[in-house]
Symmetry: D2
Subunit: 342 residues, 4 copies
Amino acid sequence: MTKKIAILGASGYTGAELVRLIATHPDMEIAALAAERKAGLKMADVFPHLRHLDLPDLVRIDEIDFAGIDLCFCALPHKTSQEVIRDLPRDLKIVDLSADFRLRDPAAYEKWYGNAHAAVEMQGEAVYGLTEFYRNDIRAARLVAGTGCNAATGQFALRPLISAGVIGLDDIILDMKCAVSGAGRSLKENLLHAELSEGYNAYAVGGTHRHLGEFDQEFAALAGREVKVQFTPHLIPANRGILATGYVSGDAAQVHETFAKAYADEPFVEVLPFGQTPSTHHVRGSNFVHVGVTGDRIAGRAILIVALDNLTKGSSGQALQNANLMLGLEETAGLMMAPLFP
Amino acid sequence: MTKKIAILGASGYTGAELVRLIATHPDMEIAALAAERKAGLKMADVFPHLRHLDLPDLVRIDEIDFAGIDLCFCALPHKTSQEVIRDLPRDLKIVDLSADFRLRDPAAYEKWYGNAHAAVEMQGEAVYGLTEFYRNDIRAARLVAGTGCNAATGQFALRPLISAGVIGLDDIILDMKCAVSGAGRSLKENLLHAELSEGYNAYAVGGTHRHLGEFDQEFAALAGREVKVQFTPHLIPANRGILATGYVSGDAAQVHETFAKAYADEPFVEVLPFGQTPSTHHVRGSNFVHVGVTGDRIAGRAILIVALDNLTKGSSGQALQNANLMLGLEETAGLMMAPLFP
Amino acid sequence: MTKKIAILGASGYTGAELVRLIATHPDMEIAALAAERKAGLKMADVFPHLRHLDLPDLVRIDEIDFAGIDLCFCALPHKTSQEVIRDLPRDLKIVDLSADFRLRDPAAYEKWYGNAHAAVEMQGEAVYGLTEFYRNDIRAARLVAGTGCNAATGQFALRPLISAGVIGLDDIILDMKCAVSGAGRSLKENLLHAELSEGYNAYAVGGTHRHLGEFDQEFAALAGREVKVQFTPHLIPANRGILATGYVSGDAAQVHETFAKAYADEPFVEVLPFGQTPSTHHVRGSNFVHVGVTGDRIAGRAILIVALDNLTKGSSGQALQNANLMLGLEETAGLMMAPLFP
Amino acid sequence: MTKKIAILGASGYTGAELVRLIATHPDMEIAALAAERKAGLKMADVFPHLRHLDLPDLVRIDEIDFAGIDLCFCALPHKTSQEVIRDLPRDLKIVDLSADFRLRDPAAYEKWYGNAHAAVEMQGEAVYGLTEFYRNDIRAARLVAGTGCNAATGQFALRPLISAGVIGLDDIILDMKCAVSGAGRSLKENLLHAELSEGYNAYAVGGTHRHLGEFDQEFAALAGREVKVQFTPHLIPANRGILATGYVSGDAAQVHETFAKAYADEPFVEVLPFGQTPSTHHVRGSNFVHVGVTGDRIAGRAILIVALDNLTKGSSGQALQNANLMLGLEETAGLMMAPLFP
């Protein structure tokens, strides 16, 4: 039976991406679209690329009758999300795309986000949404917290290696190259075409990026000890994609084997032959993750490169993958479209 | 029953686009992929974005057993295509994406393409592949000639207007803005990123572009007289998309009504409200066509703007739409994916 | 003797472009930089690419002592500019880059800009700043009104032809392709990288763009009668450049000769050999204008293509060229840098 | 007195960049331009952006009379360059932009470039062309070997730190982001706009990039011991710029002080305030280098970020800076143009 879906925050990029994906999903139907400041508009006015779809008009959240909704995606800004979710029906299945329920420890949340959490009691309930590693928990979850897009990319690079104990834990560096849609549809000078195209730069340098909170939480849980990675994101003149270049100590061949084994049955993770490295070109618009490993001329060093689309696998595609599990649908439903190239 | 598909010329952009589309088609299966110079390679070596698919390896055309093939797409270069198609089984359904069978008149072909046609007898057999206007013929066709991508765009802008007699025929101007993938995967200096990005220019100026042959043929047939449009293409630093800006004499409101009526039942053509104009951003990666009309401060002038994706609706998507009809499948099967934005 | 220069509105793109150009000007020195909302900041904070220069800090306009200033550039928004200029010392030489003094007729100004002019008496005094055509007036002027960037491009395409009477006046079409910096450093959704890159669209369609006011004024003066052109601008994913494609009736060879003669002695205007067409790639970052002409397969039709950099020749470079004349300096001083390619 | 300049290899990007820079040089004049395969053409045919300049036509190298030439730039491909330079007059001042004379050790050359050197005796004569660190030697040199563009960037990040002994030498990582013009005007599939724009990837991963030969040579000389850095370049969809992100162990404040002191008097090197990081946007088209330092949340780690334009400071600008010194001209002559932004 077709599942009824609501999307809160439908006027942002992750909201629109959810609509794009659900548009061809065999078992879902969009029943409600909310966007506070754009309530009353048609989706085609806000996102003309969705013009061909027969969608409900945008409404305010309080106009939605959640009684008939099977699952609700929250694509709202951080902080707003926790306040909204706190007040939603307690039996409503929810996939939150914000940062609000990613960190289980209220203190860690407060440290990285700078405010006390408004729904502390739900932080414990939420399941961390990195599907490939929390699949069973997600199936049973009522509230799933989608991961940060950088956080997802870095974890695809490191989780199997930390779990298998094949790399050193004290000298991990993640140098990331991030496309601009990760910053959302926000009006900031550095996101203008004239300011961004044709150049690139680091940002949130020096261990200040909030996604470090997720790395710290997840890697410590895997390793059974504190693991502090260095993580430097860079803003690249492209719209979609994250490329993580990981520098670790370890045997490169063993690293590759570990990946091959860990991801052997994953429908969305492709491990490239040893020595080949992925490109964001080849995952754009899709839910796939490409993982590559090479050695270095310096013995005992391995280089990990992971590419995914921040809006799809890094956010809305991941969210849909989780929703499929929560609703008892095929995990890959609506998500097998090939990347768009060129 | 699943239809078996062969693609000749699978190492070019239109070939890869066909694979992308067919990958999620419910009723088709790729049975053979040919690429003469890359025979022996895996598709993932040539197009890593298709790595997740279970595809046959690339072979030479003469290695294919066409006995089990239901339909063959030819995405070969012009001239090569006619030579190959001439020698394919006579009962094989074929959609040709090249220019070779678009012009019914051998003299017109020779004029625009500079060589005598190698399969003159098949020129008459071929049906012109602009689905929305040749639907019934295509259903019954064995050989369909996909249109030029610019030719398709210009015809979406002009055919209903010429048919309805609502515009002047002697002062039609089509100024087109074309993305670079229309030039294919060819190694030319002006297609390099360093040469193309951050700037733009006209090309094939002055009535020399080959797609004029299609305009001349089709518009004359509609009007019952010679119709010579001015057509100037421009190369724009983007990968997908054609935007046609048409300048015509006529009543803009009447033009808009004519479009609304002509395209009312078309699943892939969206006519925007009067005064709104489309963007290539909003059709990228999809089979949709967006059509807009405005008036001008000069009475009696109308401006037509049409956007489509040259690789999808302008080429491989159109080809698949035609193949669906030829195989008795749902016309829209595999083609309803929403555009990719941003 | 080095001339002391003030720039009002130094925090926008045209202000920064003036600083870039004056930085290597042999006879000018920047004595004051004003930016109301950024007063107190260093220019390097607002435009880090100017970090190496020894520049005065940004101040409010009312903090500037104009006594020692030889010439003042006003790179302020429309409407603000007229209010500021009205109150500047009456003997101060001024080059205004806004639209405020381009239209000599207060009614025309009000029609296109929607508000009554606040300094009507100065509209008559201002000289229109298209250097190549108003050179002598500019030399003697106190107040020069820089042209619109599209207006400049279209006039380079049409003025010599209208003056020489070699084209029809009733069917002129200017289809323009404009880079994004023409929209300034303003925070608008459609100017974001994610919204603009990889796609393109028309805007201000249907004879509504304000630069039409300049075309109307200037072409009527040349022709001695009303000349209404059709002008449709398109927003292209590039940062600098305007390409005008002009469609006119006339003999293409005669058109080319007319250009060759008109621009023979111009240091910044390059007329390409007949049949060649320019690209915005080849004028980027420079004060040069490239002009090309072809015929069409339709006899009696000519296609004009003009390329310039909107921020340089279309705005700040033009302004500096005018300032050179007003200050008795070499017209080309500080302006002969070659375009940046790639 | 004006110096007569020859440029061999004028049809590539570094050749064109030399012409762009010399075009406004007060003391140089281009006397000869050679390009074997394009001999006979005008420079404007090969690089239309140089159309406004009065330049000699392209000739073959053997057509040049070097008697009247004061200095010759060789912008030829690797390997060709050594063969050509070997046969040039022995008293001719030469700045070579290729890799052929960068490595002083013939064995190192052969290791990284895969062929025996054809002018071994001249390898010892050549001075390494990183101006800021070899200034006095360059003044007296006859043959200067321009550095690799990545090699220059990495050395601006590391030389002062290695010399001052303020960082560890065994865990240096250079993650570089490189624009496409560094690959030259070569027809390769991965350099096409359609393949490169909108995505990014690593290349020459694992310690295989040839510029490592320069790092090894130079850092060992500074440190008095072997220093092996990890260096991974990434290809970014932009035309100009290199951004090096360096990860080192050391005290970040001390690192910053070391930079501030080392570069205090350098006309082209700007050290940003501690904690600020540069962008390639802000050096494009210029000879400037921007250097930034931050600490990390992990004590004892510093992050170095260096930006420069690969075609200017990384190649042709550096070459001109060296030529100025060799000819007894002002070091900064012709090189003080501000970056082009946006």
